[in-house]
């Protein structure tokens, strides 16, 4: 179990978490900008939209989580739900 005098780990310090996140934001920004610099070969028109993959990834992810939250309202039951009848 956890001890109060335990050594500090990498992500115990908030500034390390922030450093990691800032690096990640920078990578995301760079990737988005690259879309305007590098020409992607695209076989479809909509693929050619600047930032298509970035936007698709972001929107898909948010949609996924929001729909899953709705699904939970519909589908979630107590942990012993199946134990009652078996």
């Amino acid at each position: 179990m956890k001890h109060p005098d335990e050594k500090q780990y990498l992500f115990d310090k908030p500034e390390n978490v922030n450093r990691f996140l800032r690096g990640f934001y920078a990578v995301c920004g760079l990737l988005f900008v690259l879309d305007f610099i590098i020409h992607r070969h695209a076989s479809r028109d909509w693929e050619q939209l600047p930032g298509f993959y970035a936007i698709y990834g972001f929107v898909a992810f948010v949609m996924l989580v929001l729909v899953a939250k709705l699904l939970r309202k519909l589908m979630m039951r107590r942990e012993d739900y199946y134990d009652v009848d078996e």
Binding site: C28, Y56, G57, F58, M63, Y81, E86
Partner: protein, 566 residues
């Protein structure tokens, strides 16, 4: 080394037999030798086109049919078996060791089976051996889940047998080549394969039994059953349009469940179905590029999925559970496991330089080539979804997130070694895909690493991850909760038992009334009878049927005696 026609299941069955009789280091050596020697033999001595047939009761059974397709699955099954044997070396459990070896051997038997009867035999052996990896957990819920698993798998076997017979009537052939859905036998066989491949509504045996299996058993299970099904689909039903749509549904629906599921091994089970979807889709398209993609994805998938299941097995082994709500901060006590888990997560998310990227790209490119734009968009959506549950959720909630306060030891050394081997292979395949491509069954002229492709994939993944960060910080992410989420299994785990008990309750008054009538009738007869003078006779002291039966018995006995004497 040996004769090239030695069927690859033989060393495994031999090792299983010997594992029963040995223990300790000797057993370990035997278990390691089976996949190692068997694999080397397959690689060096077995050329494309090797055949071995035996005749049994007029039927010619092809125990060994080696071509590029079966060999590819043979190689990866040997590699995975070797890694998994290392992973299970710390166990002192004969049941799991023997079952694991028979299971891996049966998978090889099924892959190299050249006819449907041989396939059926190994199909059933797979079931019988694998269920012990669930039961070896030795808990009440595991034994119930094992029974449900058996029900599905045995039905799959029966369908395969029935389909084989019908197929034989229509075509007069038992050979296991392209089957198709032209005759009803083909449909039955497709359904049999579909159960094993976790098609929608037939999938719950997987998400039910795998999380109930032992820490090591789940990793072993994740490799063989479903990939044998992928192989059989690729062999029997390539280019069947229906499979494109089934595959697309398989990639999409499990990810919603994976987002809200708490047990991380169940999350991995849902993600397993999602990955199978990519393969099924590729098989459905049926072009050389797509089929190559399907089997290449099976190849790399086996390694990274086993790696993820192994890391969660290590967590279960050390921390005692795999619930996202109860874990967190484990990177402090299990840093190596955490790192290896992240390699698996990066591979399944198809990050460039990891194995998932080089195999999934083949399927995605094939979809665009065939003009399947909608399906392509669905699979792209599913690719972003994979990043959520397998790429981020599994490592994040187990090893990072909030500190659960759990302090434990690092995974045992054999587990770390097994995971490290799998991780190294994931990276090697990702960085040097030409070696995997060279093994693929069809000629392929494809290279995944061009600027367009890499940039697009990085953008997709990074912005999906950005959405995760945003939703976590804003608190939009669904909290991790102890709960059950209703899935198709509701029909047989809830509706069916509830219907039975409802019928029992509903008919209870009717049965009660009938019972009452019978009682009344008996009593009336009794009292009426007692009023008659017959009741005074000695033999009538009890209800007369008893004495009647006695007298009949005496008469019959007498007849029999007379018959013998005269």
């Amino acid at each position: 080394m040996w004769m090239s026609e030695l069927p690859p299941f033989v060393p495994f069955f031999l090792a299983a037999l010997l594992a029963l009789l040995t223990r300790g280091p000797l057993r370990a050596a035997l278990m390691l030798a089976a996949p190692l020697l068997g694999g080397l033999h397959l690689w060096f001595d077995v050329p494309d086109g090797t055949l071995l047939s035996v005749t049994l009761l007029e039927f010619e059974l092809t125990l060994m049919r080696a071509d590029r397709l079966s060999l590819l699955f043979g190689y990866i099954f040997h590699i995975a078996a070797f890694i998994l044997v290392i992973y299970t070396l710390h166990l002192r459990d004969t049941m799991q060791h023997v079952a694991g070896l028979v299971y891996a051997g049966s998978a090889l038997g099924a892959v190299f089976a050249g006819d449907l009867i041989t396939l059926f035999i190994f199909w059933e052996l797979l079931v019988i051996s694998s269920v012990f990896l669930v039961w070896a957990r030795r808990s009440a819920s595991a034994s119930r889940a094992g029974i449900r698993y058996l029900l599905f798998q045995v039905s799959s076997g029966l369908l395969l047998l029935a389909g084989t017979l019908v197929h034989y009537r229509y075509t007069g052939s038992l050979a296991f080549d392209f089957i198709g859905i032209e005759n009803p036998g083909g449909w039955l066989i497709l359904l049999a394969f579909g159960i094993k491949c976790a098609f929608p509504f037939l999938h719950n045996w997987l998400t039910d039994a795998y999380p109930e299996a032992t820490p090591t058993g789940a990793a072993v299970l994740s490799v063989f059953t479903t990939k044998v099904a992928v192989y059989t689909l690729a062999r029997g039903f390539p280019g069947t349009d229906l499979l494109i749509y089934i595959g697309a549904v398989m990639t999409c629906f499990p990810i919603f469940y994976a987002v809200i599921e708490n047990d991380l091994r169940r999350v991995l089970s849902y993600s397993l179905i999602n990955q199978l979807g990519f393969m099924v889709c590729g098989i459905g398209i049926g072009t050389a590029l797509a089929l190559n993609g399907a089997v290449a994805h099976a190849f790399s998938h086996i390694l990274y999925k086993a790696l993820l299941f192994m890391s969660m097995g290590a967590v279960l082994f050390r921390a005692g559970n795999t619930n996202a709500s109860d874990l967190g901060g484990l990177y402090k006590s299990m840093p190596k496991t955490a790192l290896l888990c992240i390699v698996g997560a990066a591979s399944i998310s198809a990050l460039p330089l990891f194995s998932g990227f080089v195999s999934k790209s083949l399927v995605m490119s094939a979809l665009l080539e065939e003009g399947q734009d909608i399906v392509w968009l669905m699979l792209l959506f599913a690719s972003a979804g994979v990043l959520h549950h397998a790429g981020i959720k599994v490592p994040f909630f187990a090893f990072f997130a909030h500190d659960s306060g759990i302090r434990t030891a690092e995974a045992p050394r054999n587990m770390l070694l097994a995971m490290a081997l799998a991780a190294v292979l994931c990276i090697l395949i990702g960085c040097l895909p030409q070696y995997l491509y060279a093994l693929l069954p069809w000629e392929v002229d494809y290279w995944p690493y061009d600027t367009t492709h890499v940039l697009a994939q990085l953008q997709l993944l990074c912005f999906a991850a950005l959405a995760f960060v945003w939703m976590e910080i804003k608190g939009y992410a669904p909290p991790e909760l102890h709960a059950v989420n209703i899935d198709a299994e509701w029909f047989y785990r809830k509706l069916l038992p509830a219907t039975v008990s409802f019928l029992r309750r509903a008919t209870h008054p009717v049965i009660g009334v009938l019972h009452g009538i019978r009682q009344n009738y008996r009593q009336t007869l009794n009292t009426m009878y007692c009023r008659t003078s017959l009741a005074d006779y000695h033999l009538a002291a009890s209800w007369p049927t008893g004495s009647m039966v006695l007298w009949i018995a005496i008469f019959l006995g007498g007849y029999l005696l007379l018959d013998v004497i005269l």
